[in-house]
Symmetry: C2
Subunit: 587 residues, 2 copies
């Protein structure tokens, strides 16, 4: 009964969700239908997951079927758990059916009974998709609408992978640039990445480079990369703004059954306050990550299961959200995007407007591969080699910066710990011993000793106070630096994927050039790939430039703040000691 297959070549799992198999191993499959060249099965060690369809030979009525071409059929595969894969990555022409909501509602039970392998790690792109039980899956959606609100849920229906489906909304910029619809079709001769979970694929980078992206780009969606003093950069936001986050307050609903913390957000460009919960930030974050393939979306502060209503935690989270907001509003592209504006400006009391905007964002077609369609670049293309060298340089930079951020983080953490415990203890012990000395001296009742006794007692108190100063200090200086480092650790974790997309595009260009030389591809098609790679390069370099700019801005400001706080601290200590010294004047 079980569908079995023999493994043709060794395959080593490289991503979460994949399983390793050995040549000649017999695996059990759940379906002979592959999804994007992958099959789900269980290997001889009982591990369940995905393996490349082309690596196995299905043993069916004695007639093995080997996969050597890309199957485009997915309908039989209950791949709904892969909802977090950007749709552009799978099927740029895929259209969410109008009836998707009702459909999903009716088929909701099928999700909870689905028992396929866990989805590929959500962390890779910072997705907030639960990897836990199905109950968690439902919980994740809390009081939001159903799972079906999530875009990219692969329904059981038929999909045209050729990119020329029945949609009447779409305009493929690649077509308008590179030629006709055939281009996308013929791009199948340029090899696709075997691993469908690579960032290059998932982000939509591959689909875009291969000319498979198509969408209607409104003027408002246009994102410009311009040549600045230091190279490509995002066009500045002509209406810069910032946004404060204040007064986190505990709210309840369902007659107090459910509690949450609400933050007051006041953007400077509207001056009108909105209330948002962490889960709104979380939702927004997921939208942004999905939408922007080569933009480093700042990570939101981590989730926390316990102590969510403790003051320290709330204060820490607020600070994290402030940092996050600062990086959002500082980013020329992120600051202006619709979903962020909706988040910032939609009235907290107008639930209908909120839901409309929410649905609109979740149905946004200009995500992933299509995002690249919205980018307009300077006319002169970039030099490929120069781009590669810049990207390599940046890769080395992020690696070293990441190391040093980890080191500074660990050092300051330890420094703070020492100040709170050790330094405090030492100064307080000195203070106590002075106090003890003054107590001994008080046994001598002679008048000429009184002033000294009091001065020494005061000195003891001063040292105890200095101990407290040391313990309180990290909150003033170390903590903000740590917040900054945490935010940058998030960015640095984003960059490998961004670089990966750019590298993937470059590889495709090289491949296509080779194909042209070998006469396997038309020059025109290769030129299209090259042009689209150029767009990705411009975007990537603009993003890198932006990163360096905010990095210099942020680290300068933080180092100044840190030093100012340290100076204030030592001045405070000095002041306390001077106060103590003055007590001896009359002693």
């Amino acid at each position: 009964m079980a569908l079995q297959a023999r493994v043709l070549y060794d395959f080593t799992s490289e991503n979460p969700g994949e399983i390793s198999v050995k040549e000649n191993e017999i695996v059990t499959l759940y379906s002979e239908q592959d999804i994007e060249g992958w099959l789900e099965g269980t290997n001889s060690r009982g591990e369940r997951g995905l393996l490349p369809a082309s690596y196995v030979e299905i043993q069916k009525s004695g007639k093995p079927t080997s996969y050597n071409n890309n199957s485009t059929s997915v309908d039989a595969y209950q791949g709904s758990r892969y909802a977090n894969i950007p749709p552009g990555g799978f099927d740029p022409s895929y259209k969410i059916p109008n009836q998707v909501e009702s459909y999903n509602k009716s088929s909701a039970s099928s999700f909870t009974t689905f028992s396929g392998p866990p989805p590929p790690s959500s962390q890779q792109q910072g997705y907030s998709v639960s990897q836990g039980s199905d109950d968690d899956w439902d919980d994740d959606w809390d009081d939001n609408s159903t799972v079906a609100d999530e875009p990219g849920v692969v329904s059981g229906g038929f999909h045209d992978f050729e990119g020329n489906g029945p949609s009447t909304y779409r305009v493929s910029t690649s077509m308008s640039r590179g030629g006709n619809a055939q281009q996308a079709k013929s791009s199948a001769t340029v090899s696709r990445n075997l691993n469908r979970f690579s960032t290059f694929v998932k982000s939509g980078g591959e689909a875009f480079v291969l000319g498979e992206a198509s969408g209607f780009v409104k003027d408002g969606d246009k994102i410009c990369v311009v040549m600045g003093q230091y190279g490509p950069e995002w066009q500045e936001n002509p209406y810069p703004f910032s946004c404060t986050i204040d007064d986190p307050t505990k709210q309840t609903k369902f007659k107090g059954m459910k509690s949450y913390i609400s933050y007051k957000l006041t953007p400077t460009h509207t001056q009108s306050q909105v209330n948002r919960r962490y889960k709104h930030f979380d939702w927004l974050y997921a939208r942004l990550v999905e939408k922007f393939p080569v933009i480093s979306v700042p990570h939101i502060p981590e989730k926390q299961a316990t102590g969510r209503f403790e003051e320290d935690f709330i204060s820490k989270r607020r600070k994290g959200l402030i940092w996050w907001m600062n990086h959002m509003t500082s980013h020329p592209v992120l600051a202006r995007c619709d979903v962020f504006q909706h988040f910032l400006t939609c009235s907290s009391t107008d639930e209908k407007a909120w839901k409309q905007g929410k649905r609109k964002a979740e149905k946004d077609e200009m995500v992933g591969a299509n995002f690249f369609l919205t980018i307009s670049t300077p006319a002169a293309p970039l030099d490929l080699q120069e781009v590669e060298s810049k990207i390599d340089g940046f890769k080395a930079f992020t690696k070293k910066m990441d190391d040093s951020v980890i080191q500074v983080n660990a050092t300051l953490n330890e420094f703070a710990r020492k100040q709170i415990a050790g330094f405090k203890k030492e100064y307080q012990k000195v203070g106590q011993s002075f106090k003890y000395l003054s107590q001994a001296f008080e046994l001598d009742q002679q008048a000429y000793s009184t002033g000294l006794n009091q001065a020494i007692a005061y000195t003891g108190e001063a040292y105890e106070a200095i101990g407290d100063y040391f313990a309180e200090q990290p909150k003033q200086d170390v903590d903000p630096v740590m917040d900054l480092l945490a935010l940058y650790q998030g960015h640095l974790a984003n960059y490998p994927d961004i670089i990966h997309v750019q590298k993937g595009a470059l590889t495709k260009v090289k491949e296509s050039q080779k194909h042209v030389e070998e006469g396997k591809m038309e020059r025109q098609q290769a030129d299209g790939i090259n042009e689209r790679c150029n767009i990705i390069s411009f975007a990537t370099l603009a993003e890198i430039q932006h990163f360096h700019h905010i990095r210099v801005r942020d680290y300068k400001a933080q180092m100044q703040h840190y030093l100012q706080q340290q100076i204030s601290f030592f001045q405070k200590v000095t002041g306390k000691l001077e106060e103590a010294l003055r007590k001896y004047d009359n002693a």
Copy 2:
């Protein structure tokens, strides 16, 4: 052959040199002649030492001899190892024979072959007498003259214990005050302390109180206690001076065979420099301790066997000697005494003058019991009860001060250790992590980053420097406090003995009053005891007053110095940080 005795009562050793014995135990004696009521013997456990003569019954030809009266004969006892016991303690009228030097020279070999019990702990009075082998004994005297130079060596000759010996030099002040020579004699009916090594006895306090002291008091020797604002105090030195100690330099003699460190002393009242070695200080110290029973002679810095020529040690010893000198010149009695003046003023090149002064000091008769003869007090006697209460208060004070000095010492020691190791490490680690961060940033060659990179690198250096500041700081502030504490620990170690002398005198007064009531003593004699106790009380209270005065002066100055140094330190740290902060102005 061996002389044996049966123990009559249990006796538990309370001082070094004594041995414990049990009732009915048989001990072996070295002589049946007691010395001041003590016999030397070996108990059944083979321990050798002294035991009270009155506790044993000598078993001689079947006829036991028990000691129930004080034997006054010492001639047969080779007690020369007890040379460090002030002669006043044994025999106030004892006169060093004119030929003592030649005698001692001729009998020098007898010292080295003597194998009696070790002398009582030299620490009790801070004596610098060696307790080691006989070789050490000789070594102690180095290139000084022979052992015989030391006063108080008990020769084998006969001594008149009645205090009315053949001396023509002596004037007993007790006689001139209390009556006649008979007084001293009849004082034998007032019980003597059983333990002849108690400070009260050793210091000469007992002998003086019992009227056994006698000596010729020159006008220059007169020491006045006056009533000051806060009670009895030493009359101020009308010619106050101080003395600097500079340039410790290494000198050699015997063609470089022997090296030593010479210190340049310049007293302000002569303005002429003399060179002195540590052993001169040591010799002087021994003279002073011997001479002044109720004065707390500041301890000289400790001896050290190794590393004597290392810079750190020399610098530390010099600082210790400066403190010591300060306390010497600050003391109204010590500052003016002959031996100290000889030490300060005798030309270093005039060896003959030095030896003369040295011998004179060693032959000084106004030491121990006789020192009290030189004290003149206000006419109105002190209230005994008040004195007792003051002394008790001071005893409690010294106990508590000693505890707190130990605590401050331990705390500051640990504080210094932490600054030198832990604090330094923490700040340097912070510095290193900043430097590492700047190195990472340098990988980004963009012009707008350069200023920041340099500023962060400088901040890293600043923190490394601050780490060094922390490590160097204890030398500036903790060390001087520790020096002060060490000096005061010495004083505090002196006070139990001083208090003991005063308490012993008070006890004698009470005893004599009781004796008078019981008709066992003439009132006149008791009055004499009372008067002499009054002198001791005046001296003790004056010394206590002096202690409090210099204590307040010293601790005030040191605490101020400590705080000033700490303030400078934190200002230096602040300055360094401000420097670092300025680097960001152009970043």
